[in-house]
Symmetry: C2
Subunit: 470 residues, 2 copies
């Protein structure tokens, strides 16, 4: 067994004991010497294990005493509630609220807890620049020419390859590239829905999806969703006769960060295929897992081609490149036709550059780092919220992704909090943005994709104080 | 008056006399010495005038005798017919035919008379590469970040500036960028149309527009269109009570190359505004005029914000960049919302690079060269067609753009011709692609955006021989 493999095994083993609760906050860990003897490893390797756990904020060292499970982990805010939306389709779009939050986008000096993308500081910008320059130099006509309709072949190959570990079961011919993830969802909804059709989604749900469905004239049925395990299967079962399409973010749903179990994924795929209801799966956060392994997807269990799997690099690498894709199963011809008519071609240069970047393995290294940063951010956010937010504040427990869902006492209205916070240059996403119904007025989504700093901590503290003033 | 200005004035003056017919094929032109004396210019300038006219295929020199109006211009093929489509909306899409023509796209060794974009050899690839590399280096986050929703400000400014000469009457705030021209049209149709609505268009019409309208569930009403003056105003007047939207390519319509007069443009704008029917104007070919001046647009006469003006750089600079725009008039909010939902952002790097390229003035220089090349190609195509195509062949008289419309005798079916030609590695666009009705079976569109060569001439000759065999 290689040294490197042993090191990873031991680190992950201790990490899961801590996360699973077998080791509790304040517990003393074995000494470096004991670890060496137990696992027959060198002192250096043992030290690396503890350093790694420390960098993940799982353990802390005390001078002369050794390593202890981090007290941060003892911060246990109550879990936010399972949503209970009305089970009658409702399309009351919070237009004005969304415009208000969007109108400040891009302005300087504002801290954007409201956005759903990682900060540019967390992206491998220098390496991406090199890839763009190389692609521009090496493409036959400098990228002025159209790509083939289905998209860059190298990119489709590497995406298919990367899907093997989670059982994607597709090859390059099963994929169609798009101009980003929203463009992928837009093609899926245009291909499958007609005005008046009903679409089932999670609640709360990413506002772009709500608006897109609403804009295409679909009736939106929001289903009860658990903050850690995702959509409630029983509710979906009951809704089956009413729905024509289902759209889910099974892995690290924005804004909850919930992750469906494999059994639930399998069951949803079976149920929908049996009733001939197509499933659109949005997996843009799938690679941002905090646990040891990447979760599977609904697509992993799709035998009938009934799942339209959508993803992109917008949440992990470069939002401004607009590189996304669909594995549309049996709906491929429809998607290809929509792409031809509404987009003609993806953008040749950026797709070539991303394909080359993904091939080098630098992407995996970057993802590893990004996941660790996001997980640390989450810990830091929760600790700060516990210290400075009003009593009774609950949060989701994201197991990956970019979002933390915060639920205040019913007396605290996040629309009003937005108005107060923006005056202090803090932008939040009020809960009402994530539904077409009258709910979540006491909730908000915080983006955890900002680099942690004293300033961010200060802004969170300010936010807590504002909420207390209500 | 500067020497350069005089040179251009004199050259354009003689060119219009030839094009207008005041000087006829074979007429002798004044000698170099006479030109010097008449205009008080140097011998060198006078010689440059003739060289320029010769490079435009307008004159030819005979040793010891001087310059004569080119005999090429005496080639006068009969003008193709005014279309007479059924005035009942029809949506019989030639799906199979289009798939057949598209399935060979991008294959090597095929001569693509069927495509509607300029060959890569005619594009300033080296300069564009430099702009991409500079943009990537200089953008704050290397282009990984989103643009502002409305699009790159520099790009919108230069587009607004370039519209001044033809009376665009808009500024940067009136523009929204899109991922190419088809994406612009798709947003306009989604913003304005609902399934069952009727859209009036030219006939023949660009296949992408027909398919897009059809795909969105619109009823398509094709209107009679003159090969040189465009849509027939009387037919449009009669159709008014039946239609909800109108979409025109007033300048160098693909596939005819027709150009509407200013009066007709003005009248169409007035008529549609009066009846509250929005006009989508596709001006992607507007900069590719063969005459001395750029034509105006319908947008030039739009006082009510009822014209949604769409354009792109795909026909002039870089199809693979997917950079387009809309000046949506009073429909701006709807277009912005669609962009947010279906695309999120344009692609930061390519839009920055194009903005910088357009600012340098290199674009005007490139366009000047491209227009001349296309015009020469047109002359060469017509001469070859006159020599080698079956008796009775008619053509359009494009005054700009990338298309030549060829009309055979009714006995020659271009679907069958396609099958024969593709075996000889020649791809054409059969006329039936340009309509949703049963017409144009004896017509085809030829792209004149391929660099002229002996090989292209040979392929045209082969095509003529195949048509004669029918």
């Amino acid at each position: 067994m290689s040294k490197e493999f042993l090191y990873t095994e031991i680190t992950n083993g201790i990490a899961s004991q801590i996360r699973g609760g077998a080791l509790k906050a304040g517990d003393k860990l074995p000494s470096v010497r004991t670890l060496c003897q137990e696992h027959q490893i060198s002192m250096n390797t043992a030290k690396r294990v503890f350093l790694e756990l420390e960098s993940q904020s799982l353990v802390e060292s005390k001078p002369q005493s050794g390593y202890f499970v981090s007290k941060l982990l003892s911060v246990k805010l109550p879990l936010s509630e399972v949503s209970r939306p009305s089970l009658i389709a409702n399309n009351n779009e919070p237009d004005e609220l969304i415009s208000k939050v969007y109108e400040n986008m891009g302005k300087k000096d504002i801290t954007f807890f409201s956005i759903g993308i990682p900060s540019g500081d967390l992206l491998p910008q220098a390496k991406l620049k090199k890839e763009i320059i190389n692609a521009t130099r090496e493409l036959k006509e400098g990228g002025t020419e159209f790509e083939e309709l289905q998209g860059n072949l190298k990119l489709r190959r590497i995406i298919a390859l990367r899907s093997l570990p989670w059982g994607g079961n597709f090859n390059e011919n099963d994929l169609v590239t798009t101009n980003g993830g929203m463009n992928a969802l837009s093609f899926c909804l245009m291909a499958l829905g007609k005005p008046g059709d009903t679409i089932a989604i999670e609640s709360p749900c990413y506002p772009g999806i709500l608006q897109l469905a609403n804009g295409l004239g679909l009736r939106v049925l929001e289903l009860p969703t658990h903050p850690t395990t995702g959509i409630e299967i029983d509710a979906l079962k009951k809704a089956i006769p009413k729905i024509n399409i289902c759209l889910l973010i099974p892995n690290f749903n924005a804004p909850l960060g919930s992750c469906m179990s494999d059994e639930n994924k399998k069951e949803v795929v079976r149920l929908l295929a049996e009733n001939n209801i197509p499933l659109i799966e949005d997996d843009v956060y799938g690679d941002l897992y905090f646990g040891p392994n990447r979760p599977k997807c609904c697509k992993s269990f799709d035998k009938e081609g009934n799942v339209l799997y959508c993803s992109s690099i917008s949440k992990t690498l470069a939002p401004g490149y607009r590189v996304g894709w669909i594995a549309p199963g049996k709906y491929k011809d429809k998607i290809l036709k929509l792409k031809l008519l509404h987009a003609t071609s993806s953008i040749t240069i950026v797709n070539e550059a991303v394909a080359n970047f993904l091939k080098t393995g630098r992407y995996e290294k970057h993802l590893h780092q990004l996941r660790r940063t996001l997980q640390n951010n989450y810990q830091n956010y929760v600790q700060t919220i516990a210290a400075y937010f009003p009593e009774g504040t609950k949060t989701s427990r994201p197991q990956g992704g970019l979002s933390l869902w915060v639920e205040f006492d019913k007396s605290i209205q996040t629309r009003a909090l937005y108005n107060l916070a923006i005056k202090q240059n803090i932008s939040i996403a009020p809960g009402r943005m994530f539904t077409l119904q009258d709910q979540f007025e006491n909730c908000m989504r915080l983006c955890i994709g900002l680099p942690w700093s004293e300033d961010i901590q200060l802004k969170l503290k300010q936010l807590g104080n504002l909420a207390k003033m209500r």
